[in-house]
């Protein structure tokens, strides 16, 4: 039984870079998510404090913020990965060694 992918794939550039970037971004999000849980567990009443952001309380800003932050990180990750893939592909095509 072969283990080829379900569909033919082109060369996947920048694997090492993407993996490293992914781990760092995961850790960054993990810290922010952990902070949210920590406040809930240590200072739950702080969550009810009002903030200047649209009159929402800390729970609202942090909760929605976690969702928006996830999307922002995802977009940044995609831009950085796509740029690195393009650079390496171009280098590969020009025979300058695009592997990483």
């Amino acid at each position: 039984m072969l283990h080829e992918p379900a569909a033919p794939q082109g060369k996947d550039y920048g694997q090492k870079y993407k993996t490293r970037l992914g781990v760092w971004m995961f850790l960054l999000y993990g810290i922010v998510y952990g902070g949210f849980m920590a406040i809930n567990l240590a200072q739950p009443k702080l969550m009810a404090e009002r903030t200047p952001v649209f009159g929402l309380n800390v729970a609202g800003v942090y909760g929605f913020g976690l969702i928006v932050f996830a999307l922002l990180l995802a977009l940044v990750y995609n831009v950085m990965c796509t740029r690195r893939e393009r650079q390496l592909r171009q280098a590969d095509e020009q025979g300058q060694g695009g592997e990483e």
């Binding site: 283990h3 992918p5 090492k16 993996t19 992914g22 809930n40 009159g55 309380n57 729970a59 990965c81």
Partner: protein, 720 residues
């Protein structure tokens, strides 16, 4: 609103939707004749479509029905599920998406086994896929039953069989290609119409007297001054309304842990005037709300003819005639509450279930007309009540900021149950709660409780965070796109669409609560009922989408499970020599079998809490699959035996801990929550905090002990 009309429209909209989906399945099914086409849609689904399909797969009954329902009764705590479910996608995107795409062929097992060719891994991973899929299937099927019962008036089992049959048909017809497009359609419609509903909620604004766009009159629960008369708490004669009531019974509800009196409930007799309609119905009017007593037409006719001033008991109802007016004597329940200077009794709703199956609602026999009222609502908005409190249309931020205020007071739906003789009584009452408590964690999760309660909460959040990236029906979707970059981009589309939907859940749940549309016996239907409060058509569409939500998720799960059976077990583990056509046929047979099992379990597990079962599936997935995936990708010393041991320990520890959890003790040994915590060997409802590290540890130890075998991977995929 006429139920039959609503049901007809819902059925018509639903039938149109299903017919369209089936048509699409037939069309696409004719194009998917290979194994790759059946299990992975040929790997040629565009990433944008695949991303929305991810949302379709992920936004199951638990998200649309469960989270909205939980927010409707527990406020911000329900939203914590939204946050946890979305955060899980970060693990999927940053850690799992691209490496999984590089490793796999059709299934999660392929990915794990790609460097070992170990029969142990093939078996363990396939079994894990099957177990997680089936556990995830059960709540979806139960959700199908929950939907059809109030919507179409069909029994639970019929709903489950209906969904099962349609899904088996869809999957057996076309496999992954059609389920992808079904999910794409469903995901899109779910997000678009949820947004429409949220816009309607904001345009409608906030009111302390919501009337569901004029369709249901607002009911204000009555209040009586009370005073102590010996042992009894009775209506205070100084209150002019007191003369209408007679004290019948009283019960102290004790705190099972401390033995202190948590609350006192009082049963009062009340005379309600009966009127006879031109259609021949007798009806009772309670503060402007008409309750028909159609079933008693003949008896009451006869009664009216022959009764004098005497009291007669017919069908356990007591009737009294005073002058020309006929009264029915009812017993209603009231909740005692102490205010600053006095004690008051506040009217509650009641459901009395008798041993012979008889049901009484608010002191009168249950009927199509006499049902429990929907609950929720606001007592005060920014310190105001009545008409001056109405805000008119509000913006999305103003909606939330107004509800977060200290002087905005919610009527949070609460239930208390007890038995009197052979009758089981459920009381539904409102607990006034300020916005500062509703709009932050703490109503459901005891974040201010004991250390163990806090750990239990952390354990659940951990399982939600780590479970997403290990769900087999999510993992197989990485094989439907043409490249690792497309896998990444489709995950980002998924995060955007799922995140947006989860933001909407906050408005849908709170909208249900403030518009008084929460079903007091089950909060799962809150979002569809919110739609019904505004428009019949919107209700029909939302219900059809909710149904399709169940359909779509079940389709994805059955594809994942059938892939595990046909590809991992039959083809690889048992090495049955099959050509492409036979493999597709085997997959369809497996889909039929798994679907049948899901139907049976969906019927057997009727009434079980949907969220509880979904949490179970997440915990098992996070414990069994995630350590194997992560370590395979990031630890060079991982061995095949380590992976097998980790999966086995993950499954056994997670399922085992759930089986001996306090919730299971309370549910199946019929003991109180506090007794269950005492009885359970480990007082944890959520096993993740124990089973996930245990599974990681097992993998590390077994891998280190089996380093000399030849199955060690040369290098991790992530470092290629």
């Amino acid at each position: 609103m006429i139920l039959a009309e609503v049901a007809f429209m819902a059925v018509a909209v639903f039938a149109l939707f299903v017919a369209f989906v089936l048509g699409l399945s037939f069309y696409l099914g004719r194009r998917a004749k290979s194994a790759s086409g059946s299990f992975a849609a040929g790997g040629q689904i565009p990433w944008g479509v695949n991303g929305i399909s991810f949302a379709g797969d992920y936004l199951s009954a638990a998200s649309f029905l469960g989270i909205c329902g939980m927010i409707a009764v527990a406020g911000y705590d329900g939203f914590l599920y939204s946050i946890g479910y979305l955060a899980g996608w970060i693990v999927a995107l940053f850690v799992v998406a691209e490496p999984m795409k590089r490793l796999g062929k059709y299934t999660f097992t392929d990915a794990l086994d790609s460097q070992f060719n170990s029969r142990g891994i093939q078996f363990a991973a396939a079994l894990s896929t099957l177990i997680v899929s089936v556990f995830y299937l059960i709540p979806q099927m139960v959700g199908a039953g929950v939907l059809v019962t109030p919507l179409l008036g069909l029994p639970h089992a019929v709903g489950v069989i209906m969904v099962g049959a349609i899904v088996i048909f869809i999957v057996a017809t076309a496999g992954m290609a059609s389920t992808t497009w079904v999910q794409f359609l469903k995901g899109t419609l779910l997000i678009v119409f949820s947004l429409v509903l949220v816009i309607v909620v904001c345009v409608q604004g906030l009111s302390t007297e919501p009337d569901q766009a004029g369709t249901v009159a607002h009911y204000s629960y009555r209040m009586l001054d009370a005073k102590q008369a010996g042992e009894e708490l009775v209506p205070d004669p100084a209150d002019p309304q007191a003369a209408d009531f007679v004290h019948l019974d009283q019960k102290d509800i004790l705190n099972p842990k401390t033995g202190d009196v948590d609350m006192t409930v009082v049963k009062l007799q009340e005379l309600l005037p009966l009127t006879h309609t031109e259609e021949g119905y007798w009806q009772v009017t309670v503060k402007g709300t008409v309750e028909r007593l159609g079933a008693y037409e003949d008896s009451l006719d006869k009664l009216a003819a022959r009764t004098g001033d005497a009291t007669k008991d017919i069908m356990e109802l007591s009737f009294i005639k005073r002058g020309d007016q006929l009264f029915v004597s009812t017993a209603t329940w009231w909740v005692a509450r102490k205010t600053e200077d006095k004690t008051v009794l506040i009217e509650a709703q009641s459901l009395r279930e008798e041993e012979d199956g008889g049901k009484w609602v608010n002191g009168l026999p249950a009927s199509d007309e006499n049902q429990l009222r929907q609950v929720g609502g606001l007592q005060q908005i920014a310190g105001k009540s009545g008409q001056e409190a109405s805000t008119g249309a509000v913006g999305p931020f103003e909606f939330l900021s107004t509800l977060s205020r200290e002087d905005t007071v919610f009527d949070i739906p609460k239930t208390v149950e007890f038995s009197i003789g052979e009758n089981h009584i459920s009381l539904f009452y409102a607990k006034p709660t300020p916005g500062t408590k509703v709009m932050r964690p703490g109503m459901k999760f005891k974040v201010e409780g004991s250390a163990l309660e806090k750990l239990d909460f952390a354990s659940l959040m951990l399982a939600l965070f780590l479970g997403t990236a290990a769900l087999p029906h999510i993992l197989i979707r990485y094989y439907t796109v043409p490249s690792p970059a497309a896998a990444r981009k489709s995950t980002i589309v998924a995060i955007a669409s799922i995140g947006f939907f989860y933001v909407l859940t906050m408005y849908l749940g709170l909208g249900s609560l403030v518009n008084e549309v929460v079903n007091p016996t089950s909060n799962n239907m809150s979002a569809p009922l919110l739609a019904r409060g505004f428009s019949t058509l919107l209700f029909a569409i939302i219900s059809a989408i909710a149904f399709a939500t169940v359909l779509g998720t079940v389709s994805g799960l059955i594809v994942a499970a059938s892939g595990a059976v046909a590809h991992d077990l039959m083809d690889r583990f048992f090495s049955l020599k099959m050509n492409e056509k036979q493999k597709v046929y085997a997959g369809k047979l497996a889909a039929f079998t798994v679907g049948l099992i899901a139907i049976i379990l969906g019927i057997v597990f009727e009434g079980m809490n949907v969220a509880f079962l979904v949490g179970w599936a997440f915990a098992v997935a996070a414990s069994a699959n995630l350590p194997a995936i992560i370590m395979l990708l990031f630890w060079k010393k991982t061995t095949g035996k380590g992976i097998v041991a980790s999966i086995a320990v993950g499954i056994i520890s997670a399922v085992g801990l759930i089986l001996i959890s306090p919730s299971m003790y309370a549910k199946y040994y019929a003991v109180s929550r506090e007794q269950a915590v005492e009885l359970a060997p480990i007082p944890f409802d959520n096993p993740g905090l124990i089973s996930i590290p245990l599974s990681f540890l097992t993998l590390v130890i077994v891998s280190l002990l089996t380093q000399k075998t030849a199955e060690k991977p040369k290098e991790t995929v992530a470092a290629d």
